[in-house]
Assembly symmetry: C2
Homo-oligomer: 437 residues x 2
């Protein structure tokens, strides 16, 4: 992509409305613009990142054996009456009256819709277990939407739902999602620690929040320091094997949010306790028969008798995760994208736009890199080098290539690692080889 | 994917509520389920196809130089007041009051939101031309939603918007989208013919509808028979070159929907006239300054004076296109997917599930095909061969592989082409080679 033609309206100044760093940087880097309170348009640069995160989430759900479908944004309010949550959910749920005076709700979550699918389509024990998920826009009418995409009203969520015959089955599904979450967040370049959590309006009696530690996090959290180096399951993990030992390993050490903080327990681990700020990026719930009984979700058991489904649900705030990644990965100059979710891998900077030697070298590198499948943003604008440096640092692509007439006369360009700041001079060929590796 | 674990609830009987073939087949093949009037859940098989169509649409938009962003589903109603369409749009537009009594609308289209972005972010003539697009769920509160995804209320649309300084620029953008549409529909396996169209509530004075011919089409259309074999531009087309000759070639012959039918014109082409049924899958509009004047969308021109933007918009009904493909590609036994949008390429049928020889051969083929990156649906269910045949014909995967104990004893399996019905006996190795080609 050539920056001269790309819609990437960066801002020099910090926008006054942005109180936290991810919101500031997403606005300044031209990734999002507010369209109404808590409702955003994702500009091209921001949408590229959102889609990369979404794809990682999808791949890890698929790997764990979950099946993707798509539920609508607007839901039949009758289903919410059946589950008993229509009145319980309160004013955060957006209620809508259509032209025939029927009430729809903009789904804040989708337990009702998926359980309606399940009761109609799952007939026999043979069709269990199942984990179904979707990645869809949700709406929660927050009283005071703030912090950009971290607490917006319209947000992208991955929500999965499991359907099992027994508690043991449901726990295995829970473990699958638990492990998939460890992998998902690690692949997005952040280390998320599962912490025992309360279940709130979803219900149920087993739940973990996945918390990313970040200095600018929204809540106080506590955990054993061994969590920081705990090994993430690799991609060959067999999701059909017994995952309980892995679950135990990741839950047996102390970890709690402020809400669940227990001084006595915390004191037991003494110097091993870390007290830090954290951001919630996902939550898993086992809720048993909370929906299957009121909504009559049952299948024929092996003995011919109906069995109520044991359920769980598993959410990742996909758009929120993007904010969390920035909160965890930035410096004073801007964002530092983990390579897996970076909008482009390489920022190619022409330091002397208009000079034939650098224009030609840049065009050549650009076409070779693109041809090799490398995602490159080429700053071909007619701007000063200083402006280009600060733009590139702000948007945080993992690698910068600095190409100027003076260097080229010596036969070199410079490669800069955005994260470490390290630079090295190499030939054009070496640069291409290095970046296409 | 193993069919024994896949959520694909096929129906033997034709559902009474479905009046047209695509609706019937999508329900019967377990691709969609209605969640509220005109609002559907896309089950895994259906969602796979929807995503493939979406990806083809995206690739062709990108190829034409359009930039992808994402606008929210809920829009600020104030913008609609500025464009003058808030009252004009009528009851098809869903209006929503939030907890603070502010009115939002569920976007039926997004001219207002994108023009708001443009007036805030495009400052100078240097930032034009631009084509921006998004693929997002839209809502139109149809009085009588029907025909499944062909006329649903919540539907997936690709909508692109162009921003130019002059009419000539805007016409070039129009031509880009025009050509991209020819390629998009062809890649989806249907032949869409551009027909001069009225502009309706979008406004403007130049518009074409893209019509897929199908016996079960919703409207009567007329066109010159040479359209049937007109060559689609190939992928090396240069979108920066003059596209006007190509545009002329595709618009100079007679083509009209019933609404625009002109007997005198039609009679002129005599025997070359085709009268057929058609389905609209896309529409392109040039609307000039219809939005830029009331919304004050201008950039600084080369002479330092503000210039109002010349605009156009370009829609594809992505979810509707899926229905249109089925209307154009089916037989009495079910769907016949074009390979480019098929949910899986291959249906592997174990004719003698439970017999070691076929179980083993199927498992082996399945893992080899999956490893080679082929999308396979493996019917490993404990069902009669007849049931498996009709299921596979119904869901319409391009290739079927029939594997049974008797054939294997002779060293052969059968490959069937769903479209032609042709079958041939080959060895297991030949089958794998053929399908991984």
């Amino acid at each position: 992509m050539r920056l001269s033609t790309y819609l990437m309206p960066t801002l020099k100044e910090n926008p006054l409305e942005a109180q936290i760093v991810s919101h500031r940087l997403m606005l300044r880097a031209g990734m999002i613009r507010q369209s109404a309170a808590g409702i955003y348009t994702w500009l091209p640069l921001g949408y590229r990142v959102l889609r990369k995160i979404e794809q990682i989430v999808r791949e890890e759900q698929d790997r764990a054996g979950a099946q993707e479908l798509l539920m609508p944004t607007l839901q039949n309010s009758e289903l919410w009456k059946q589950s008993g949550r229509y009145d319980a959910y309160g004013p955060e749920m957006l209620r809508i009256t259509d032209r025939h005076d029927r009430v729809l709700v903009y789904g804040p979550t989708a337990e009702e819709v998926i359980n309606d699918i399940a009761r109609n389509e799952l007939k026999s024990y043979k069709e269990t277990p199942k984990i179904l998920y979707n990645i869809q826009w949700k709406f929660r009418d927050e009283v005071r939407p703030r912090f950009g995409v971290m607490r917006g009203r319209e947000f992208l969520m991955k929500d999965a739902y499991s359907f099992d015959l027994t508690y043991e089955g449901a726990k295995h599904s829970y473990n699958k999602m638990f492990v998939a979450y460890l992998r998902t967040f690690a692949r997005c370049g952040v280390h998320a620690i599962p912490m025992k959590a309360s279940t709130g309006p979803i219900g149920g009696d087993l739940s973990h929040e996945f918390i990313v530690l970040a200095e600018t996090g929204e809540e106080q959290v506590y955990c054993h320091k061994d969590y920081l180096n705990m090994e993430i399951p690799n991609e060959d993990i067999d999701y059909n094997s017994d995952l309980e030992p892995l679950y135990q390993k990741w839950t047996s050490l102390y970890a709690a949010t402020e809400e669940k903080f227990d001084k006595e327990e915390a004191d037991k681990i003494g110097d091993n306790l870390i007290s830090a700020r954290g951001i919630e990026v996902g939550q898993v719930f086992y809720y048993g028969k909370k929906y299957s009984i009121p909504m009559n979700v049952s299948v024929m058991g092996e003995d011919g008798k109906p069995v109520y489904i044991e359920g769980g649900c598993y959410g990742i705030g996909v758009s929120r995760l993007m904010g969390a990644i920035i909160e965890a990965c930035h410096d004073d100059n801007g964002i530092i994208w983990p390579e897996s979710v970076a909008p482009f891998k390489v920022g190619l900077i022409n330091l002397t736009t208009g000079k034939e030697i650098s224009d030609k070298a840049c065009e050549d590198m650009y076409s070779k890199l693109v041809k090799a499948g490398v995602e490159v943003l080429y700053d071909d604008r007619n701007e000063r080098a200083g402006v280009k440096f600060s733009t590139m640092d702000l948007i945080g692509l993992p690698w910068q290539v600095l190409v100027g007439a003076r260097g080229l006369e010596k036969g070199v360009v410079e490669i800069k690692n955005r994260k470490t700041g390290e630079k090295k001079e190499v030939s054009v060929e070496e640069a291409i080889n290095f970046l296409t590796k």
